[in-house]
Every structure is written in structure tokens, then in C-alpha cells.
Symmetry: C2
């Protein structure tokens, strides 16, 4: 059993930290919002005053925080992981952030003797709780070999995509498809509804053929019922598409439907719907044409 | 065993006509390109000089031709099905055409005593040959009940969506999702490739999660290998999206990603790629950013 670090005890981090404790490990934890640590502290985790202390006390440190700037703060901000050289440590960033900045972070940490892995997840809160996440890893084989036993506690599918940033790149690709497939479902069902066909029957017919998708299976019902309790929040979907577009801009790549879909999420967030499930995208298209799906 | 009419002996119509003959029926056929009839004539079908003769000789007539204007010609053009009143006949239009014009066609035929069903299919040439098409039906219950035994020869899933036009509406919804899911895959894999990750590994990781779709399963390999032999042709995908957009315009509905994707298909057709598989959409995005997927 190992001493492990865990930074970020939010919706995803809390159950992931718990699963590592249930597997018998001693967890040293930090969250910039101290209250977020309370549930795992009650179950035996040990609180640290900042990220630096987590890195001082452990060899393998997991991070899962909202966005690129949050990861940068954890790593390089005041009281951050990089405040003193720490040879032999491995930092596993499971946040979903920019693949380009991830490469830079990995280089800066490597100069300090710290190995980094990017290991974003898909599967949501349910997957985090049940330990069935899909984990996409970027970084060195040796580092992955050392942390794989812990990743096996957190997820069922661990895929080594490539070098630093490749895990985040795969996650961005995942989020592009998820959002664009949802948007496609919304356009198609709104079309059917506006043309006078029953969208429930249309969805059922479409699930039997080439139009089927995990999104149509999982979120088709939610969309038809205007059921938007999260789930995966619209503001996070917007952030992921923004990461896709800003990385694509730096790479010199045009992503036309990702761009349009990002704008629809901006409209959704502007409507105050940022905490709703990402399939609430439907309502942005409903407002656009003043037609409610029915 | 019945005498049935079949108008349109193209890639889809020929194997469908054959399956009806194999089921023991006598087929009266017509195609505006007489050579297209030869294969089924050799197998026992009876040639008619025009669509009107097909309707004169049979009670149930199947049509499968390329686009809305072709159906209009078959029904209402010179030598067309509507040239004389024909009470008690049922015309089953299995083409993929405009749902709005379909409603008009059904009304005009009804005034002549002819019942119409719209019954577009999905499943492609393979589904047509094996009799495993998915068939989406719009029109009256009584008419569907009469032709269902024949539809059961052609397909495995027959879904009655609603009244006249509802079958075409469902097919348009299907084609919106198919095209937009393909476009999403192309954007995501191009992003992964341009960011330096192996798109083969990324696709494999994504198939395990929320981004999976029938298109990712079926066409993901084709896209990664630049394998564009049809399959379902780009020009037909473009036509379907054009049907979606022109119907949506009449209905007063905005379909932003359908519009962008239609434009990408226009670029593809402009490049002379109209006979390639619809997943050749990749090449339009590759050219746009001067980056080849690899």
C-alpha cells in the first residue's frame, strides 16, 4: 500500500480519491476550497496546506481540477508542486485541459526532475464512483508502468495514446465528437418535430441504423423529455470545445462544426444554463427558431 | 403471389426487385434508362413502356429513383402514373426525397383514387441485396397493412412513423445525423493527427466511450485508410442534406451544422469526388487546412 497525493476533490476527484482509499492506500489531499476536502478527511485522508506539501509527502500525485489555468496554479503557482526540486515524483494530471499547454507543463516539470503524465478521463461522475472510467494517457512508458496499478483502481480502460499531451489530445477529440453528435441529434429531432413527425418514433427508428450513437442511446431520452439535470455540465462542454478551438488555432487547423457548436454553448451559458447537462444545447436551437421540441 | 410494379432499377432498385421476384411475385418494371432493366428482365421481369403502364398492370407499385424531381416525373410527368384515374392502387415511394413535396404528391394522388406511402430505406446496397433494409413509413395504416408482406421481403425493420411525409422526415433526420457524425469524426481525428497523436489509437480509445457511434464503428477505418470506394456516394449525401435544408427553410427552422456540412459536401462535389463514399468528406477538411490525416 502506498502514500498517494490527490489534488482537487470536486465532483470527479472525491469519488476517485475514495476508490484509492478503499483499495488500501493512504491519501494526502489538497483542494483550494478547503470544505471540498471534508468528506474524504472524515474517511481517513490527510489534509495538506497546499500542493507543495502534497508533493513533499508522496511520490505519486493525482490532479483533477477544472481547467488549464487551475492546473498551472497547482503546478507552478504560490505553494505549487514545482516550488522545490523533487526528483523521482510522478504527477498524473487527470483534468481535461489544453494538450498544447500540457506539453509545456511536462517539459517544465521534467526540468525539475518530476515526471508528468496526462491522463484525462471519460465516463463522468458515475464512472468515477464505480471505478469504470476510460483513461487516455500521454507520457512515458516507465511512468505509466509505475502508476498503472492505481489507474486500474480508477478505470477499466487505460489506453496509452502516446507522448506528453497525447492523452489530452484524445480527450479533446472525444469531446469534439460528443458535442457534435449531441448537436446533430438536436438538429435532427427538431427537424422531425417541426415537420410534424413524432420525434420519439423517429429516434426509435434511427437507433436501428447508421445514425445510432452512444449519445443517441444515452441522451436521446433526456433530450425528448427536456430533462437537463447534470450529468455533464454545459459549462464544461463549452470549456472543452474552447480548448479544442484554441489548440486548433495554434496548430493551424479549421474545425467548422466545433466552432459553431461552441458558439451555441456560449448562447446557452449566456442564458444562465451553464449548470445544466450538456444536452440542454437543445434549448439554444429551440430558441434560435422559436420552436419547442414536441 | 401478386403482380407488383417496380419503377427505378438502379443500385438499390435492382436487388430489391430481385428479392420480390425470388419471393415468387410477378414484376412489371420500368426505368427511364432502358438498359437498367436488362438484368431483371433476364430473370423474368416484364418490361413496361412507361410508368403509366406499370400502374395499369399492377395494384401495388414500388418506386425508387434518385431525387424529388424524378419522383415527380414518374408520378405526374408524360406517361406518368397519374395519367389516368386508378382507384384502389397503392404507390410505395422508397426514394429518399423531400418530405414536404411528398405530402403534396400524396394529396394529388389521393384526389385520383391512388393511395401513396412514403417508405424510404436505410441500409444501403448491402441491405438491399440481403433484404435487411430499415424502412421508415409515412401514410395510412390500411395501405401499410396491404403492402407490409412485400416490405417484409425487402427489410427487417419496418417502422410506421406517422402520416404522409413522416417516413421521409425520419429519413432526413437520419441523414442529418449520419453526415454530422461523420463530419465530427473527421474534425476529431484531424485534430488528433495535427496535434501529433496517432489517430488510430485515438479512434480505438474513443470507441470505448461516449463518443462512439455506428459511423465511428463502420467508417472510422475507412477514414483512417483514406478508403473512399462507395458505399454511399457523396452526391447522395449532399442531396439528402439539401433536402433537409430546403425543407427546413420552408418550415422556418435553422440547422447550422447541417448547413456547414452541406457546404463541405459542395466543396467535395466541386472537387470531382461526387462518386466517392460520403466519408471522403475528410478530404474537404484536409484541403481546407492543408493537413493530411496520418
Amino acid at each position: 500500500m502506498a502514500s498517494l497525493g490527490f489534488i482537487g476533490l470536486g465532483i470527479m476527484g472525491k469519488p476517485m480519491c475514495r476508490n484509492l482509499m478503499k483499495a488500501g492506500h493512504r491519501l494526502y489531499v489538497f483542494d483550494a476550497q478547503p470544505d471540498a476536502m471534508n468528506p474524504v478527511l472524515k474517511e481517513g485522508a490527510i489534509a495538506c496546506v497546499n500542493s507543495r506539501e502534497v508533493v513533499e509527502r508522496t511520490e505519486v500525485i493525482f490532479i483533477i481540477v477544472p481547467d488549464t489555468a487551475d492546473v498551472e496554479t497547482v503546478l507552478f503557482g504560490p505553494g505549487g508542486a514545482a516550488e522545490r526540486p523533487a526528483s523521482g515524483k510522478i504527477i498524473v494530471d487527470m483534468s481535461s485541459i489544453s494538450p498544447i499547454e500540457t506539453k509545456e507543463f511536462a517539459q517544465r516539470l521534467f526540468a525539475l526532475g518530476i515526471e508528468m503524465l496526462d491522463a484525462p478521463v471519460s465516463g463522468g461522475e458515475v464512472g468515477a464512483e464505480s471505478g469504470t472510467l476510460s483513461i487516455m494517457v500521454g507520457g512515458k512508458d516507465a511512468a505509466l508502468a509505475k502508476v498503472r496499478p492505481y489507474l486500474d483502481v480508477l478505470g477499466t480502460t487505460i489506453t496509452h495514446i502516446g507522448d506528453h499531451g497525447a492523452g489530452q489530445t484524445a480527450k479533446v477529440a472525444n469531446q469534439i465528437i460528443v458535442a457534435l453528435n449531441l448537436e446533430a441529434i438536436c438538429e435532427a429531432l427538431l427537424f422531425a418535430s417541426k415537420a410534424g413527425a413524432d420525434p420519439v418514433k423517429v429516434r426509435k427508428a434511427l437507433m436501428g441504423g447508421a445514425a445510432n450513437s452512444r449519445m443517441l442511446e444515452i441522451k436521446g431520452d433526456w433530450i425528448l423529455a427536456h430533462r437537463f439535470q447534470p450529468g455533464f455540465r454545459a459549462k464544461h462542454q463549452q470549456k472543452d470545445l474552447n480548448n479544442a478551438l484554441s489548440a486548433a488555432r495554434k496548430l493551424g487547423l479549421a474545425l467548422p462544426n466545433t466552432a459553431t457548436t461552441h458558439e451555441l454553448y456560449s448562447a446557452l451559458v449566456g442564458d444562465g444554463s451553464e449548470e445544466l447537462d450538456h444536452c440542454a444545447l437543445l434549448t439554444a436551437l429551440e430558441r434560435l427558431s422559436n420552436h419547442r421540441l414536441a
